[in-house]
């Protein structure tokens, strides 16, 4: 078990480095090259060479790449070219929001999807399946705009964008927390809806499959109601795929968060990546790619760890 985890973690590091290398490759071969992207096309003779030497870009690409990857391995993300601040500081400023958004959406999708899916497994009606499938197909930004239209513009109950009220910023404590929550309700909903519907469909199918098995029949023969059999017996067996799906989709949710952050003007990691890429701030871009990739791998590793805890059949020493 431990050996397996170490192997998975090592493989994750390789995968993250591969992503970082790909980002480096793209940055290095962008039209104009990194030096012109950094210094601009004009300048006194010798200026470009000076900038290249100062940022260590005067060496061959392979050498620069190896140097950057070595620093990454040691946890050194370098300094932002545009802001002249450590990349780690920039990312840490933005990370809590994105992580909060992603994790809230994942948890909301898992919980609400499970409940709705189990409820949908109760009857023989087909409309819940059609509804979930239809909502599942909606792109996140359309959902975001629809939510803004209804809740912010028509009903006026929730803020449209940002994470703070510019006219009346909350000082701190409970008021600040409430303000943050109020601003994040719509983004989390918009991000979660797709996955929520997927989980609901998955749970419904899983519960229905379990309900046909003899142990559920036996439970009902002993006097359990159909409803109790569904929630207490069938549902737990249908939960494991939900957990692994939730972990596996963290990476995709992070990608979706990028769009949602732009739609709601939230200062998160996605916006940082977009502005850094447009400004050709390569250390920051590679830093965000590494962090996003590492989070996805960490979530997968957690799922590998949690699966045997949740399902005794997956334990190595199980009979």
């Amino acid at each position: 078990m431990i050996g397996l985890l170490v192997r998975r973690a090592a493989f994750g590091v390789v995968a993250v480095l591969a992503a970082a290398s790909l980002a480096f490759l793209l940055a290095w071969h962008a039209p104009g090259g990194p030096v012109v992207g950094l210094a601009g096309e004009s300048g006194a003779p010798g200026y470009l060479e000076e900038v290249a030497a100062r940022y260590g870009l005067d060496r061959p690409g392979t050498e620069v790449w190896l140097g950057w990857m070595g620093h990454l391995l040691r946890g050194d993300f370098g300094t932002s070219w545009r802001e002249q601040r450590p990349v780690v500081a920039l990312i840490l400023e933005r990370l809590p929001l994105t992580l909060g958004l992603t994790i809230s959406a994942a948890v909301l999708a898992a919980l609400a999807g499970t409940v709705l899916g189990t409820m949908a497994a109760a009857g023989t009606a087909r409309w819940p399946v059609a509804l979930f499938s239809a909502l599942h197909a909606l792109p996140g930004y359309i959902v975001a705009q629809g939510l803004v239209l209804v809740f912010a513009l028509w009903l006026g109950v929730l803020p449209v964008q940002g994470i703070a009220d510019a006219r009346d910023p909350a000082a701190g404590g409970v008021a600040l927390l409430l303000e943050r929550v109020r601003h994040l309700v719509l983004p989390v909903l918009a991000l979660a809806l797709h996955q929520l519907c997927f989980v609901a469909l998955l749970v419904r199918a899983g519960v229905l499959a379990q309900m046909r098995l003899p142990y559920v029949t036996a439970a009902m023969a002993r006097g359990r109601s159909r409803r109790a059999a569904r929630w207490r017996h069938a549902l737990p067996h249908a939960l494991l795929p939900v957990a692994s799906l939730t972990a596996a989709r963290i990476g995709a949710l992070l990608g979706g968060a990028l769009v949602i952050e732009v739609a709601f003007a939230l200062p998160g990691l996605g916006r940082l990546a977009v502005t850094a890429a447009l400004a050709r701030d390569h250390p920051v871009v590679i830093g965000t790619v590494v962090v996003a990739c590492a989070i996805a791998w960490a979530a997968n590793l957690l799922a590998d760890l949690a699966a045997p805890l949740a399902d005794p059949r997956l334990r190595r020493d199980a009979p």
Partner: protein, 258 residues
């Protein structure tokens, strides 16, 4: 099955209409923000372009991105999936590890990077999406191929001295059509949405129309004309819904014995 065929046909008809009727080049300007009328069935946008023609043009570029993506991913996925299944164990291990790494790449982030650095041309985006979306197909096809390899007619083919190439092209690929099409549908739908998402963020191809960008810009002038936002939004919902129906796995009948 019928809903599925209907969805495929609708999608085909729909994209065919975009290819045939979309005018080339810049659209002529009329009065801005005209509501739907006989002259402009879907109205005009904030720059006075006919919404119907703009929608068709955007559909054409959406088809280009999604089509190229799917083609690239299909070729790579088919090669990797079948190769992993019939090749030596080492090849299988290497290909599947590679697939795992590629599948874990933050694709949207890399797409943002490509669009920002190389310009958001449709070809760049399609290439990136195709090169990163094949693992899904490879995994499905590897599993299907392994199941097929255990069948008697294939063992008979091996026993009769068939070469791996002959087995792959004559026996495996024709029998992989169904999972291939389902996987291609998923990749296609994902590419449509990824292209629109990128354009929505403002990193799409500036020279090509995009439903994603139309949605973003239409939302800004929502108060002046609902139609500027509604039509592209409806297109995105419609296409992604149709693709979802077309690529959905067939539901097992309730009486399937386990």
């Amino acid at each position: 099955m019928t809903a599925r065929r209907l969805a495929v046909l609708l999608l085909l008809a729909f994209y065919a209409a975009c290819l045939v009727f979309a005018p080339a080049g810049a659209l002529p300007a009329h009065a801005a923000l005209l509501p739907p009328s006989l002259a402009h069935p879907l109205g005009t946008d904030e720059l006075g372009r006919d919404m119907l023609l703009a929608l068709l043009q955007a559909g054409r570029s959406s088809l280009l991105v999604a089509g190229v993506t799917t083609a690239v991913a299909l070729v790579l996925g088919l090669g990797a999936g079948v190769g992993a299944a019939i090749g030596p164990p080492l090849l299988d291990e290497v290909l599947m590890r590679l697939a795992e790494i590629v599948a874990s790449l933050p694709v949207l982030l890399l797409a943002v990077l490509v669009a920002a650095l190389f310009g958001g041309s449709a070809w760049n985006l399609a290439l990136l999406l195709g090169l990163t979306r094949w693992p899904l197909l490879a995994r499905i096809l590897r599993a299907e191929t392994q199941a097929l390899l255990a069948r008697e007619y294939l063992r008979a083919a091996w026993a009769l001295g068939a070469t791996p190439g002959h087995v792959a092209l004559r026996h495996l690929v024709p029998n992989l059509a169904a999972p291939l099409l389902a996987g291609a549908g998923i990749v296609f739908g994902g590419a449509v949405l990824a292209e629109a998402a990128l354009a929505f963020v403002g990193l799409g191809d500036p020279d090509a129309g995009s439903w994603g960008r139309m949605v973003a810009q239409g939302f800004a002038v929502m108060g002046l004309g609902w139609w500027v936002w509604l039509w592209p939004a409806a297109m995105l919902v419609l296409v992604s819904g149709l693709v979802a129906v077309a690529a959905a796995p067939p539901e097992q009948p309730a009486s399937t014995p386990r």
